[in-house]
């Protein structure tokens, strides 16, 4: 196995260009090392951990920028994130165990592109962008298009993720991330639901609703028909319940050893209903109308 520790992004990108599919990028290593032990060793390992200045959380003119090497724990303990992006904080907080949060990076979680990746559904509803470097230059890839399948992203084998760019949501919006797993903590999500809800000026209707679903399709997805059912509507219980049912239909879960597809749909419905009510309350201080 060839092993490299590039010191610059340029060096890393040229290694990826050279080795292509054979190369594996490693940062925190919480997934890569396990794969190396239990599956196959890659023929080339590119350790980007030594590239300086890729771990940061910065506010920048309506955006929050998170460096690709930022450990999840940094996000969890950042007062800036907690204040400006409570949704991202919530996802970081529910991420695996403390030990893993200390080691795992946000870039690794995104590039791993696991359908159940804890940060992905929240980043999807935040309509974040992945800033990536290719040998020909930089590209900004919206999260809505980034994921192609489990472990597959638009970065391909040659792109290096450098930053996550997140537009700050409107001040009066409310958000929530709900995760369901048998053990609660220290467990892979059976279903993850992220909700970002912006009420209209009157505080009666949902102006903008975004619902992200994790672990119920080959990639994290938006529950588009559920969002549509709510947009511009007064937040009444029947409407919320209808949206939750639509979210369950939007999901495309599989049956595996963790849960049946049927159960995952039930949970999508329950968590969407709960998430919408909680997000609405966070935004308006009010319960959903009966």
């Amino acid at each position: 196995m060839d092993y490299f520790e590039p010191k610059t992004i340029r060096e890393a990108v040229s290694l990826l260009a050279r080795y292509g599919e054979k190369a594996k990028v490693i940062a925190g290593g919480t997934d890569v090392l396990v794969d190396m032990k239990f599956k196959e060793e890659p023929s080339c390992l590119v350790n980007i951990k030594r590239i300086p200045a890729l771990s940061y959380i910065r506010e920048d003119d309506g955006f929050l920028r998170v460096g690709t090497l930022t450990p999840i724990r940094e996000i969890e303990t950042s007062s800036l994130v907690r204040q400006k992006l409570p949704l991202l904080w919530e996802a970081a907080h529910q991420f695996a165990s403390l030990q893993i949060r200390n080691t795992a990076t946000i870039g690794g979680n995104v590039c791993r592109a696991s359908p159940s990746g804890e940060m992905l559904a929240p980043l999807l509803v935040l309509e974040a962008s992945a800033v990536a470097r290719f040998s020909r230059g930089e590209k900004k890839l919206p999260f809505g298009e980034l994921f192609l399948g489990p472990g597959q992203t638009l970065l391909g084998s040659k792109g290096l993720l450098t930053e996550i760019e997140i537009a700050l949501p409107p001040e009066r919006s409310g958000s929530v991330y709900l995760k369901h797993a048998v053990r609660g903590a220290m467990d892979i999500a059976m279903v993850g639901v992220a909700v970002l809800l912006t009420p209209d000026a009157g505080g009666k209707k949902a102006k903008d609703v975004r619902i992200g679903l994790g672990a119920v399709a080959p990639t994290p997805i938006r529950a588009k028909s559920a969002e549509k059912a709510l947009r511009g509507k007064a937040m009444a219980r029947a409407v919320v319940e209808e949206a939750a049912r639509r979210a369950a239909a939007d999901a495309k879960p599989i049956t595996d050893h963790r849960a049946s597809a049927e159960y995952r749909r039930w949970i999508v419905e329950a968590l969407t209903r709960k998430g919408l009510a909680q997000a609405w309350k966070a935004a308006t201080g009010k319960e959903v109308d009966r």
Binding site: F38, H180, V182, R183, G184, Y263, K274
Partner: protein, 764 residues
Amino acid sequence: MAKAEYSVLGTSIPRMGGVERVAGAGIYGIDLVLPDAVRGGVLRSQYAHATIKSIDTSEAESLPGVYAVVTAEDAPDVKYGRTSNDRYMLARGKVRYMGDPVAAVAADSEATLKKALKKIKVEYEPLPVVLDAEAAMKADAPALHEEIPLPANLPKDTRVKNVCGYSTLHVGDPDRAMAEADLVVEETYETKMVHPQYLEPRIAATRHEADGRLTVWVNAQAPFGVRSEVSKLLKIPISGIRVLVTEIGGGFGGKATGTHSSAGLEPICALLAIKAKKPVMMVLDKAEETVSTTVRAPVKVWIQTGVNKDGTIVARKAKLIFDAGAYSGFGALAGSRCTQMLAGWYRTPNAHVDGYIVYTNKQVCGPVRGPGGPQAAFPVESHMDSIAAKLGMDPVEFRLKNIPKPGERIAGVPKLRDVSLGETIRVAAEKIGWGKVKLEKNQGVGIATGSWIEGSGPGGGAVVKINEDGTAAVLIGKVDYGTAPRFGIPMIVAEELGIPTDDVTVLNVDTDASPWDAGTVGSRSTLVAGNAARLAAIDARNQLLRMAAKQLEASSDDLEIKDRQIRVKGTPVKALALAAVATAAHNEIGEVIGRGYFDSKAVEAEEKEKGSSPPFTSHAAIVEVDPDTGNVKILKYVAVHDVGFVIHPQAVEGQIEGATAMSIGQALCEQVLFDDKGKTLNPTFVDYLMPTWNMIPKIETVLIKGYPGAGPYGTKGAGEIGCVPPPAAIANAICNAVGVRLTSLPLSPENVLRAIREQKGVEP
């Protein structure tokens, strides 16, 4: 019971060896470093059922760094088994589960080993696979062991297949009593396979010594069992084998039955070491452990009970299908215990139970903590609540109505001496706030009881040697994996010798030096080694007192040992230092050596005459069910136990809490899952869900007193019984919370929500 006037007994001394464990000292099997050792590993079957057409090891053998490759051809044609010799250490002609050892390699590194295992070419001819025990009994099922006859005790005309054990119980006239009962309740229940999942991986290391003997290092609970089985399988005399036990990081019965539990790891390791002419060390990884080693067997139970309107149980009938796995292993024994327990531990004058222990193409049943107990108590104690509901009776009242009296019998106990069952129920009900606690919506309270075996079984000895400084070294055959050897045993010896516990060293088992023992199993450490060590300490004390008597000019009867001094009772000034007497002994008899043993037959005879007092327990729980997700949260948990006299309260509470937590795991989330080919789907801790601390409630343990058992000073076994009631206690609380009776484990969110939706009639 002896009066509580002990100096050490009844206190909670720090666990001997506790600091090393917490500080991460390299003391476990996996830390063992043998000079010049090479690495051993096993090639396991990739089919759950297949004929082996051929094995070609030539490519593996020619790989640089490979020291030995072994298959069944390298070993004597000898089978092993506990109740039936049905298994080879390395598969011969056939494999019966996906984990069966087929070949093994010794190599210079882990990497070479992996490479070599891949280069072994095995040609299989797949056979039909049967994973369900009930299906395996049917005529059209594939035969797993054609050469093994059906059990001789099967009733005539029983048309079954693949049955490796049959157990039955018959009391009174159950047919008639059932027909005459006011109410008959009938249900079926099911439990799933769980793995004991001790954290420390299993190891074996072997060195072929210059004198031709074999030294085998194991982290097994039954080192003498390992010795006898290695001897038998490799045709080496017992005297040619020495087994040394490393410290053990958890076993829970999973490391119990000699080589069975480890799927032949020790004899395979020995075979490799002989062929490689090098010491060989083997370590199983977690996934390999889950797919190959012994498990708690899944069961299917049909249970029927007849009661009178006033709540008196008049009859019980039950049928058990106990899934032994690919080989008989411990199946017939655990299945038999499960069969007995299905008759319950309440007064049941008429009963009939049939227990079929059945081969399937899965992991083999081992004696996992309370073998057969949780599998019986989940149906029995869930069923008790179902009956109470049909009678319109309170579950506590219904249970109290049917408590057996001293002198009466329950299944497995011909004559009861005294019965703590009722008191445990009353205390548990009071502690949980039965009938008083205010429950919110979706909250419920449940209770379940349990019992466990006590008394007779194999004997065991102890030797107490007195060093010249008055300290003591103790040899017993029980190993320390968190049980008596470093809690109760040093306390007993210290108490009887009048020395501090720090002056007592309990040696780890070395089969060349330690007294023989059947294994650290069956909640019997304190019963066997405790009784033996007590008698050995008394023997040593009497020898010391006799020697001191001459010098002190007193009768040895008037002497006592206190604070490292031998002194005349009531006249403390007339004293000799214990060390001086122990040193002086060198000129007379050499070292003072006390000997004691646990006489199983004597205990059996006494119990036959006076009856026995088995341990009883009641657990009560308050749970909250999330009606949206099916998630069950335990809000409060009470475990009331009668364990007789308590030597070390903290150790006993620790055992009970540990067993309860383990069983809560089986109740709420644990199970080994398979695809239809018999492949384990969740072999690692990522997918095999054990409860983490956030799922385990604070377990409030209450030890009730006044019912002495057969152990030293009146103790009873405490290591396993805590596993018995939890699944039923939680299922009963769920039923109380949401009105749904769950009849299959685990009580996982999906299973609970499905049951709630089915009850509501929600379209799926």
